[in-house]
């Protein structure tokens, strides 16, 4: 089928996308790489000089670096676990027949359409604020001490906000996958006396494996660079409790205007992202025959 002619055509049709992305990746990357070896502060033009790997030394020995690394992984992992578990639950629920299914479905997918900045602002101010927020009002109504989410459990709070945003996406993908499940198989299993748990573990879950992989891949891509939610709610704090790698690079390059240090951080982040990417691709390879 693949003649020489169509191979040439394939290369031709592929090239615009590849060239564009290559340019988008390489040009800034090369500039960033170059900047990362300079002393380059935006606020002090004219003092640029080559300083070797000094920027990297400072970035990697920054006391915030390891906590940022940990926070990044905790954020990605936490949100993935919660959205996939919650998504499976919601998919199973929405798959049942019940009254008003269409409307409930609309309610459940709504958070996906909310911009991250807005959802962070709303959660921070109107829900989680320990004095004027709704959660505090509920706690007070129950006679409890209001819980100060963003100070007492900052990372968990951010995981909660991000989970809220991505839960609809996971639910939709998992629900579509669930609906493609062969009902007869389930019924046959039920006839054979398999309990609900058995059917879930041995038929439904394996069937959803591919969908779970897809959710993992897509969400990881977006979750590695979670930024607006942190900037709006905690500014990476208190301390470095919610600083992820993206935020750390932001702090270097746009709070301190240290382009050199920020670039070194950017390169480190690229390397880390690629490690995650390789790891993910391996996983995808097993589960998704592309």
């Amino acid at each position: 089928m693949a003649t020489a002619h169509s191979r040439a055509a394939a290369r031709l049709t592929m090239s615009p996308a590849v060239i564009l992305l290559l340019g988008w990746m390489l040009i800034p990357l090369v500039m960033t790489l170059y900047f990362s070896f300079l002393r380059y502060n935006l606020l002090m033009p004219g003092t640029e000089e080559f300083i070797g790997t000094l920027n990297y030394q400072y970035f990697l020995t920054d006391p915030a670096f390891f906590s940022a690394l940990f926070n990044t992984l905790a954020l990605v992992g936490g949100v993935l676990v919660l959205t996939i578990a919650g998504g499976i639950g919601l998919a199973l629920l929405l798959d049942q027949p019940f009254w008003g299914r269409g409307i409930v479905r609309l309610l459940v997918i709504a958070p996906f359409f909310v911009m991250p900045t807005v959802s962070a602002l709303v959660w921070k101010n109107m829900l989680m604020n320990p004095v004027n927020g709704l959660f505090a009002a509920i706690a007070k109504g129950l006679g409890l001490q209001p819980f100060d989410f963003l100070a007492e459990a900052p990372l968990s709070s951010i995981i909660l906000i991000v989970t809220w945003q991505w839960l609809p996406f996971a639910t939709l993908i998992l629900l579509t996958a669930l609906q493609s499940l062969d009902r007869e198989r389930l019924e046959a299993a039920e006839m054979d006396g398999a309990g609900a748990l058995d059917r879930f573990l041995h038929i439904i879950l394996p069937h959803l494996a591919r969908a779970m992989t897809v959710v993992t891949l897509i969400q990881t891509i977006f979750l590695l660079s979670v930024f607006a939610e942190i900037l709006v709610t905690t500014n990476g704090g208190p301390g470095t409790a919610t600083t992820n790698i993206t935020y750390l690079v932001y702090a270097q390059s746009l709070l301190q205007f240290d382009v050199g240090g920020g670039s070194a951080g950017g390169i480190v982040a690229v390397v880390l992202a690629n490690i995650v990417a390789v790891f993910l691709m391996r996983m995808i390879g097993r589960n998704l025959d592309i």
Partner: protein, 436 residues
Amino acid sequence: MKRALSLIGAAVAAFLGSSAQAETLSIATVNNGDMIRMQKLSEHFNKAHPDITLNWVTLEENVLRQRVTTDIAAKGGQYDILTIGTYEVPIWTKQKWLMPLTKLGANYDVEDLLPSIRSGLTTDGTLYAAPFYGESSMVMYRKDLFEKAGLTMPEAPTWAFVSDAARKLTDKKAEVYGICLRGKAGWGENMAFLSAMANSFGASWFDMTWKPQFNTDPWKQTLTTYLGLMKDAGPPGASSNGFNENLALFQSGKCAMWIDATVAASFVSNPAQSKVADKVGYALAPDTGLGKRSNWLWAWNLAIPASSKKGDAAQAFISWATSKEYLDLVAKEEGWANVPPGTRTSLYTNPEYRKAAPFADLTLKSIQAADPQHPTVQPVPYTGVQFVAIPEFQGIGTAVGQAFSAALAGQTTADQALQTAQTLATREMTKAGYIK
């Protein structure tokens, strides 16, 4: 007669102006109440200058700072008028990024600008940014609560008195907290307050050889006083409270005392916004008897990038927005209490303003008490009260702010926070080449 003349003048100016090319000015500003009011009132400017169209970019403070700094340093040229703080002006002037404001007009009366504010914006006798409003910090307190507790606030309280009163006034059941202070990390947030507080305890950011001073006793006293006070008498969630959050708390009647920017006085005493408008008293920021009070000095200023090709139009706007006439305009439209404070001497001698703004006197005293040239008890190599006027400060200040905010959230102790701050600051100052 005079009025008729000025009308004719305006008409002529308008005519001359409209014969020139129509110009569009992009104005980047911060989303504070006074700036939003300026945006609303700018139709008056448009009437006098129909040839100038204004495009407003209103952003939250941190976003604004990042956007305008990137723009000016990379010479992006996206804005014609920038709203910048007292911190940026001397640094940017030194880089020759700002246009000298020499065409503000004959009526502008530069001499009328408050000396302590003006000196920070002037280099070699030339003004590089015009102050839109200026502020120091002071104590705002609830007279009713003080009276009920049998306490009297002196005009110039000490930290010992404030701490004691705060603890006595706290009634957590009734959601009344003795004192609300900034805790949100950021060099312009908690560090503005804490640096100024540290000055009154005899601490400083650096010694004469640029060595960070967080391992000294005065800093330890500052931080332990602050943390102890906030633990016993502060509101919950203090580590994410900045100016705005505290303002909302105070306005809804939840703070007995609040030490913050003097501009807040007009918001807390405005019955339209504040539940406690008629119960607010004012006092100078506290001290410890060492000769420095814990009040800062800040102004939001309008400036023009040196590369701007619309300098004349931009100066016309700046001259309008920072003039005495603008103050009169705000007074006419919104009342004297809403006039942007802290920039002009004439405002503080205006009897109408003094009547409408019971906080006028203390605002002026606070501004005059701040000395950016000699901010600390011990001599230091830098200027700036609640900041250090070097480019690296934003980064260091914010990182140290994070450490202190973590201590406030209870994640670390005061000693650990100070240790972290010392290490961080030393690292950055070494990297930047201050410490050899």
